[in-house]
Symmetry: none
Subunit: 403 residues, 2 copies
């Protein structure tokens, strides 16, 4: 099955917003074994949307469109689908009721403009939006099924998982499994798995990386072939293996902490809560996550965690010694089983020759034993430095929790 | 001038890598006053590259291609341009010398496969690569100039700035400005701006929403026309206006805090650091952000912020009283000028009839005065509840900082 992805919105074409829906959908489709042959970003004008979807329909068996179904006059995707299918737009009674219910629950009058969100081409199937007001829909153009979803990434993601993926006929007799690895580069692990990655035919293996984690997904026609390749991959990457399933680092940390009844606390400086917030994503984390402390100022490091003023003046806030005292002070004040800390220079200014932008110190304290780790990411940008530091901190926590 | 952007690479179509070149180039083009009408991501096959560039040439006056000019067999962009221009590929002597010099300087033998990077269609102009081995080039197809650049983002960025931008004849630039609004729904504001949003005419207006902020961008051919529409939009949305420019909520909070020399601290429960981490995104925030506290457990709320055990037992952790005590306790312990707090039920479990999933209490303390705000988002999913709560907390902070 071949898919094309179309993202609609002027804001995606003038640099204001980076389209993340297309790569999110491409990744999910790829996981399902669907080949993505085209991703297009087009503007809000009716002509552009019609042309973009028509081009996609010519190349693919299924087309996924995001964006252009909001309540305002510059949302033209519905009209475009009416043009392309040659059908009129009709109001879906259930969608209109659902939109009204959302506004009712917030004690608000529903604006008349939201009523257009209940429109879809006659004969279309409505896709329920569990997280926002705009329902999606799907229609067929010739033999190609076109799914239309909201542009808001969280809504598109949820709608794909709940409403679109189950409808895709991927001919899935194939078996699939994912292994997660941490602390290894994609090129190194990829090199070791070269023969699986290049192989066509009965077993297909792909690697994806996201903050701090490499995921190797194998797909095979038989359970037996899958088990064989998975056990070979697992033994090849044994040193870096951290878990199974298509997961995020924070899911694995939570799983291990809950299984071992280890309570958690996190002290962050440059990451300012990124690592703690990622743990907070996991439902049920409240059974193990006690607290986090974002000690941005030096005074906060001292008052909240007891970092000594001598350490700050002699070694500075970005030092192994400070990271260590942050983690140990947090273990003491929070009473958590595993306490972790990160301090570093996110930039763009504040670096020096001895301590360049991108220098980060991490520490973890478990059962009275502290480990530290230095990272030097280089001047790769504030966002990337902060996200890598948070990921490496979560990875360090996970490694300490592994049996 | 109308531009189209084409990114080439299988890895961009299966979720392994997110294409960031297109939005980077779109942003730069937009700043130069060039309208981007299409961004396409296509796979590595020769057919796909030929078709993708041909489609782009039909729609635009200038086409920017990134990727597919590496040294391996799956890099087909050069061949595609040879097909499209009907010219043979020839070796550029200067490029080949430059590639050899790079390897020499690293003390390495140059692999024969890198020699293909010196090829370009006969008559093309070479674009020097100051940061990698692959030179770019530009050729004309009919009246459309096509620039071909490397896929590595840092190389593409540098080549655009140094080699491509100076060659673009941007002619008449359009004028553009963005206003930010908070605390109003897209449908309500969009309704008020209905007549501007309709397509066509000399002025084009679009609305985008991202966590907690609506941004209205106007574009016009003359400065005068732009000023007129911007002042009308600003007065229509006066109640909700929070700032100018294409910004995020955290940028506006940081700007106002720095301008008014107000220090900041944030106490978070359900959001677990999301709001603090967003503030941490802003370069220079360390001059005003003192600290954050993620008081996930009840014990932490008491020990870190002095929330009374009576409040927790009588009103619960998700209550107006608890939010108030969190903010006031944080103002006291952090000594920040503005202290903010969020507590709520992110779900999926833990809700009751009286306190359903999605219930959130926010509080801010400024100069000894505390304000509280209740939000009921409904059971829209853990991620969305947490992100909305963080956004609403940042908005509340911004509103207290506005003059």
């Amino acid at each position: 099955m071949r898919a094309a992805v179309v993202a609609v919105g002027d804001e995606l074409l003038d640099g204001r917003v980076t389209d993340t829906n297309s790569s999110m959908l491409a990744g999910k489709l790829s996981q399902l074994g669907v080949e993505v042959v085209l991703a297009q970003v087009i503007g809000d004008s009716l002509d552009a949307v019609v042309r973009g979807i028509r081009d996609a329909v010519e190349l693919a068996d299924v087309v996924l469109v995001t964006g252009g179904i909001g309540p305002t006059a510059d949302d033209r995707t519905r009209e475009a689908l009416a043009v392309l299918t040659g059908r009129v737009l009709v109001e879906d009674a259930a969608s209109w009721a659902a939109i009204r219910a959302i506004f009712d629950s917030r004690g608000l009058e529903v604006p008349e403009s939201n009523r257009q969100q209940a429109l879809c081409p006659e004969g279309a199937t409505v896709l329920v939006n569990h997280t926002g007001t705009a329902p999606g829909f799907c229609v067929d153009i010739d033999d190609v099924r076109v799914f239309v979803m909201p542009g808001v990434p969280s809504e598109a993601r949820r709608m794909f998982d709940d409403e679109v993926a189950p409808q895709l006929d991927v001919g899935s007799t194939s078996h699939t499994e994912t292994l997660c690895f941490g602390g290894v580069s994609e090129s190194l692990l990829g090199g070791m798995l070269q023969r699986y990655l290049s192989e066509g035919g009965a077993v297909r293996v792909g690697i994806t990386s996201s903050w701090g984690l490499l995921r190797v997904t194998a797909r095979a026609d038989t359970k037996r072939a899958l088990d064989d390749v998975i056990s070979e991959i697992r033994s090849a990457g044994k040193r870096w293996f951290v878990g199974t399933g298509y997961r995020e680092l924070e899911d694995l940390v939570a799983e291990r902490a809950i299984a071992s009844a280890t309570t958690l606390a996190v002290a962050e400086s440059l990451t300012a809560g990124l690592a703690t917030a990622r743990l907070g994503r996991v439902a049920g984390i409240s059974s193990v996550l006690l607290e986090g402390v974002v000690t941005y100022s030096n005074a906060s490091k001292t008052s909240r965690l007891g970092v000594s003023e001598q350490t700050l003046s002699e070694h500075g806030a970005v030092s192994e010694q400070c990271a260590r005292e942050m983690a140990e002070g947090l273990a003491r004040t929070s009473d958590a089983g595993l306490a972790a800390s990160a301090t570093g220079i996110a930039g763009p200014s504040g670096g020096s020759d001895a301590k360049p932008v991108g220098l980060v110190w991490l520490a973890t304290t478990l059962d009275g034993t502290t480990e530290t780790r230095e990272r030097r990411y280089g001047p790769v940008g504030r966002d990337i430095i902060r996200n890598r530091a948070a990921s490496d901190l979560l990875l360090m926590m996970l490694q300490r929790l592994l049996p």
